[in-house]
């Protein structure tokens, strides 16, 4: 009873962030889900176990998170759009294979519904403590893409965006949501299938004998042949040349590969980065936020304006690559920047780097309760005094 048309449930729904994420994945053409239960991301697995089967996809519950992401790498190389979903401890277990996916340039999506850490931490409580892990979690130099949704609608939209970016740049893309967004229920509008922009990986056009699996085009991304498509190739976690042949001693090959893997993201950063600017035109003080704190920040900025504080908000949708330019521009204009985060200071370091001499104030929150607008207003008031 497979019905592929059910991949896009066009209409208005009331659902949680986790469920919207699963629907976004299906709308983006996800055909494989490998996962392992973990609070607060389990609902994504549960939804996919029912829905993927309906549309002819494959759901596999793996033996752990290492198996989950390894299966996703396999499924992606077998030619399907593939994803997994997890939270802190599971994300930690995935790190080695994230490096493998970077090295083998495997398009895939990892959803991390962040809870409180370190270790088992607070499984049912929100956090934004995996921001730096998303960037630097696996060993070696690499660049990665991570997006941070701040509503249930964005869980749907950005999951599609994650697949599109993964397919475009042949890189693992992380949807970095927090427990509140994952478990919150809101209205979601799912557009008709034909209105959804879905991108798929580019395929090689060269004759099979001439195919070089890691020879990039001008955008630094190589076209991707998959298993069974007639091309013989070698994908490896070892440093490799454009033919895919392992090269474990040459400094030249190592330099060329590592630089290209980073540069395909760095040099395309302008195309990748998305952020929302709110009332920044004449702002004296800015809030830079992402995920759940950005909702309180928006409210705080509106309230502050009523109180005569010239406040503005830069809401980051893209976390990695870090929107350096956008933050620099804001910093040049304002007297101070307030960064509310549900951690003990992570993305604030990047903001400080981009802000140069403009003072940056961290508003750290750990545990159950997200920031209140009043706390953010108070911080802004102190900053511009």
């Amino acid at each position: 009873m497979v019905d592929e048309s059910r991949a896009v449930l066009t209409g208005t729904h009331f659902m949680s962030g986790d469920l919207a994420c699963a629907e976004g994945a299906l709308a983006a053409g996800c055909q494989f889900f490998g996962g392992y239960p973990i609070t607060p991301a389990t609902e994504i697995s549960e939804r996919m176990s029912r829905r993927l089967v309906e549309v002819g996809g494959v759901f596999v519950q793996m033996e752990d998170e290492i198996g989950s992401i390894a299966a996703v790498i396999g499924a992606s190389y077998a030619g399907k759009k593939a994803m997994t979903a997890t939270s802190g401890p599971g994300f930690s277990l995935m790190q080695e294979n994230i490096g493998l996916a970077v090295m083998t340039e495997t398009p895939l999506v990892i959803v991390n519904i962040m809870r409180g850490g370190p270790s088992t931490g607070q499984p049912t409580m929100p956090g934004q403590q995996d921001v730096m892990q998303a960037r630097w979690g696996s060993h070696g130099d690499y660049e990665i893409i991570a997006l941070a949704p701040s509503s249930v609608q964005e869980m749907f939209n950005l999951t599609i965006e994650c697949f599109n970016l993964a397919e475009t740049y042949r890189v693992p893309v992380i949807l970095l949501a927090d427990e509140i967004i994952g478990h919150m229920w809101e209205r979601v509008k799912i557009p008709p299938a034909e209105e959804i922009n879905v991108v798929s990986r580019k395929k090689p056009k060269t004759p099979t004998a001439e195919y070089q699996p890691f020879k990039p085009d001008k955008d630094l991304v190589p076209p991707m042949a998959c298993f069974g498509e007639g091309y013989r190739f070698h994908a490896t976690g070892l440093t490799h040349d454009e033919k895919g042949a392992p090269e474990t001693v040459s400094a030249e090959v190592q330099t060329e590969l590592v630089k290209r893997l980073a540069d395909k993201i760095r040099k395309n950063a302008e195309k990748i980065v998305k952020a929302q600017r709110v009332m920044l035109e004449d702002a004296d003080v800015a809030v830079i936020a992402y995920g759940i704190p950005s909702r309180a920040a928006l409210s705080a900025v509106r309230e502050a304006r009523k109180k005569g504080i010239k406040a503005g908000l830069l809401r980051l949708v893209t976390i990695w690559p870090f929107p350096q330019e956008l933050v620099s521009d804001v910093a040049k204009q304002v007297k101070a920047i307030v960064v509310p985060e549900m951690n003990y200071g992570q993305l604030v370091r990047e903001v400080e780097r981009a802000a140069k001499t403009t003072p940056v104030i961290l508003l750290s929150k750990l545990g159950e309760e997200p920031h209140r607008p009043s706390e953010i207003i108070e911080a802004m008031r102190r900053a511009v005094k």
């Binding site: 239960p37 609070t39 176990s49 752990d64």
Partner: protein
């Protein structure tokens, strides 16, 4: 190996609980009963290491603890590795004369932490031969995260990631023969137990603690939430699992396999072997199997149960019936 102790009801009642009441387990929780029984069988100072799972969560909700022994919560995948470290450290301290007492180590993990994510650590610890008892409390799914299938979930059970629908009748794979895998590690002691037979659980726990080297105890512990039955039926269901031979009781001591009394009776008097349907119909996780579309699954479960039972009888040198 001498097994002189009897564990009479009087003795058990008089021994103080080391896993105490007041924990937050659900009414009718099988694993909580298993833990209480097992901790009654300890013989002296004992250290417990506990993998992530229901029993870790319900027994140590801040600021309380249900444990009257030193207790450590490890990650999900590494109770056996953690126990290895404890055992190696105690051994070194003994060798250096810094410790005279015998200290027992028990690692508790659920089916997720044993069949799936924890099997690598378990296999490694068994191969290295550390002296500890590993207890698998098996409630046949990831109950802590809301009833997802595990390698221990039986064929046909509906869980939130193996949902029964119009086409698929619940989980399609059969339960992994985890205790057999542990027998293949050639460790000194492997046993299965059901919380319906508390004396058997206690005796097997004590044997597992007494042997030198790794011991593995697989305890069937029904879960009313995940198996979908009335909370008063936990013990009845744990008993039915044995009487239907879905979960036979046996032990393997230095590779010698023998049936425990409750299963031996069934082996000797085959008319006492009850059909699996009687077990399946007590639990709503199997209710779709009682519909005409999926009836044949009950036959499949019966066939697999018989196949595994006959294999066990052969291993115990009892005639295949």
């Amino acid at each position: 190996m001498a097994t002189t102790w009897k564990f009479t009801a009087k003795e058990i009642v008089e021994k103080p609980d080391l896993f105490t009441s007041g924990h937050r387990a659900c009414a009718g929780c099988g694993p909580a009963i298993a833990l209480r029984q097992i901790m009654k069988a300890t013989r002296g100072p004992t250290i417990v290491t506990n993998a992530t799972g229901c029993m870790e969560v319900v027994s140590t909700i801040y600021p309380y603890t249900a444990w009257k022994v030193p207790w450590i919560h490890t990650a999900f995948e590494n109770a056996a590795a953690n126990a290895s470290g404890i055992a190696a450290a105690l051994k070194a301290m003994k060798r250096k004369g810094r410790l005279q007492e015998d200290i027992d180590i028990i690692a508790f993990a659920g089916d997720g932490g044993t069949f799936d994510i924890g099997i690598q650590a378990l296999s490694g610890a068994a191969e290295r031969g550390h002296d500890f008892l590993y207890v698998l409390y098996d409630n046949e799914a990831y109950m802590n995260t809301g009833i997802q299938r595990s390698g221990g979930t039986p064929h046909g059970a509906s869980t939130t990631t193996s949902p029964a629908g119009k086409v698929i009748p619940g989980k399609r794979q059969y339960k992994k023969a985890i205790a057999d895998i542990m027998v293949a590690h050639e460790i000194p002691y492997v046993a299965t137990a059901s919380i319906a037979y508390w004396q058997d659980v206690l005796m097997k726990t004590r044997k597992g603690l007494e042997v030198e080297g790794p011991a593995f105890l697989h305890v069937l512990a029904p879960c009313p939430r995940g198996w979908r039955y009335d909370t008063s039926k936990t013990i009845e269901i744990a008993q039915l699992a044995v009487e239907t031979c879905i979960f036979p009781l046996w032990e393997s001591t230095d590779g010698q396999c023998s049936l425990s009394p409750q299963s031996k009776i069934v082996a000797l008097k085959p008319e006492r072997k009850r059909p699996v349907k009687e077990y399946l119909e007590t639990q709503r996780r199997f209710r779709h199997l009682l519909t005409p579309e999926f009836e044949s699954e009950i036959d499949n479960i019966q066939k697999m149960t018989d196949k595994r039972w006959n294999k066990l009888l052969r291993r115990c040198n009892l005639v295949s019936l």
